[in-house]
Amino acid sequence: MNIVVCVKRVPDTETKIKIGGAGTKIDPAGVEFIISPFDEFAVEEAIRIKEKLGKGEITILSLGPAEAQAIMRKAYAMGADKGTHLNDATECQDTLAEAQALAAALKGMQFDLLLFGKQAVDYDNGAVGVQVAKLLNIPVVSRIIKLDVADGKATVERESDMGKEIVEVKLPAAFTAEKGLNDPRYPKLMDIMKAKKKPLEEKPAQLDAPKLSIVKLDYPPARPPGKIVGEGEEAVPALVNLLKNEAKAL
């Protein structure tokens, strides 16, 4: 059972975002970087599958700058076995270009399962998993909350507009992980030490010229200042009046 998990290095979700000098990138000063949380569910699931089957190999694949390797080592500490870093310092925001670079590397890899997080919490497009699967011509099911593998098939659960779906797909296949799939483990110090010795190969990313470009970054539009209508139940009639007549929300 060969599993490849794609992970991305992203700013911590607690980070206060500051727009940098030229207005087209964020200022990295003081920013903590982590494995994108949805990717972490994917790493955890790969490890659980390997533990359940008692065999298999988990490879981490990451497209990003040199610092992505530290993030990959976190996945190693959770239990991944090896990995490939596709070196790209350009902070590419073109998901198609990223997907093409990942797919180019994946073409040379053997896997039964290809796992992604449903979206990277920096650019929030949620596209790369599906794009890579299409480029590799393998089936993909997005936003899974349960994954069972047996006899060359995967049975997954996901929540959609219809309700809860049970989907079956023959392997090899790709999946993107949604919150609720599992609770990722915290690596122990010993695992973190062991992670330093696991093999990590680096290659330049085969990135085509991006087909979109960033014009600028802005802070969110300020909402006009709100008002505290009052305290407790006594304020309720005034609130309802404002909602009906001022906000026209009721």
Binding site: V128, I145, K164, V236
Partner: protein, 327 residues
């Protein structure tokens, strides 16, 4: 070089969803700017009959792929149909709503067509003969304006941000039905079962009004007061991450960075402190009301109206007052 806008007209159970109308209205405006046509694409089973109604929202033409095998959405089968139709129709822009289906389909189309993609856009503009979009990043802590350097471009719009114009009943669209050969290989993922949602339960992404609860609700029983208010308003009940992590409410109700992104007309936040990850999921709501015991709660900086008080007193009082005024 194409100048048409190809719009995915999302349907569920043979009926078009409101996001389809939203996308078609915007697609029509984009097409007018580009000097092309707004062509809606309807894929499913039993959609042919209602396809021409999409003209009422501005579709110049509707291309229909209607096949019993396409009753349930899977990205491979719908993707194949969509990509094939789009590639034959001179697309400058491929437009979808950023829903479950739309996000999957947008990614598939992007890869199939070699087209760059921007998902969950909250603004767009015609600029320099093309389209530029603006979209939230870093959970809405910043917005990026993107320009496309190649055609077509795949764009998905955040639901409920672009409200559709009133339908013009005098208009109807030309309908073209395509017979697509679909083999078993196109259905490599098979939907074995759908466990339908609780009847009558409104999804938070569909609702015009959301009553949402956070840690201040203290437990699952506390949600009864919110459910009553929501029932009166025809609203959905949402939840913060804490509430879901505690197991008080299901994950499908979670609003925020690792939950759902919503943009309702009215968002009533009860006992929610307003952490940045929660704001990421609801800050584009048209009107935000906050009810919280703590006057320093960060939510009050984002809310349009606030009441400082005990939600277990304020929420029932709100229900009673609304009954009187609407009743």
């Amino acid at each position: 070089m194409g100048n048409n806008v190809l719009i995915f007209a999302e349907q569920l159970g043979g009926k078009f969803r409101s996001v389809a109308y939203e996308a078609i209205c915007q697609g029509k405006k984009m097409a007018q700017g580009l000097g092309g046509k707004a062509i809606a694409v309807a894929i499913g089973s039993g959609v042919e009959a209602v396809a021409k109604d999409l003209g009422q929202y501005g579709a110049d033409k509707v291309i229909v792929v209607d096949n019993a095998k396409l009753k349930d959405f899977t990205v491979d089968a719908y993707g194949k149909a969509f990509a094939e139709v789009v590639s034959k129709n001179d697309p400058a822009v491929v437009l979808l709503a950023a829903t479950f289906q739309g996000k999957d389909l947008g990614g598939y189309a992007s890869a199939a067509l070699g087209a760059p993609l921007s998902s969950d856009c909250t603004e767009w503009a015609s600029q320099d003969g093309g389209i530029q979009v603006k979209r939230p990043i870093y959970a809405g802590k910043a917005y990026v304006t993107v320009k496309f350097n190649s055609q077509p471009a795949v764009i998905s719009l955040r639901p409920k941000v672009f409200l559709p114009d009133a339908p013009d009943a005098s208009k109807s669209a030309e309908v073209e039905k395509i017979d697509l050969a679909l083999s078993d290989d196109d259905f490599r993922s098979v939907v074995k079962e759908i466990i339908a949602k609780t009847a009558g339960k409104i999804d938070v992404t569909e609702a015009d009004i959301i009553v949402s609860g956070g840690r201040g609700v203290k437990g699952p029983e506390g949600f009864a007061a919110l459910e009553e208010l929501a029932g009166l308003l025809g609203a959905a009940v949402g939840a913060s991450r804490t509430v879901v992590d505690e197991g008080w409410r299901p994950h499908s109700d979670q609003i925020g960075q690792t939950g759902k992104v919503v943009s309702p007309k009215l968002y009533i936040a009860c006992g929610i402190s307003g952490a940045i990850q929660h704001l990421a999921g609801m800050r584009t709501s048209k009107c935000i009301v906050a009810i919280n015991k703590d006057p320093e709660a960060p939510i009050f900086s984002t809310a349009d109206y606030g009441i400082v008080g005990d939600l277990f007193k304020v929420v029932p009082a709100l229900t009673e007052e609304i009954k009187k005024t609407i009743g």
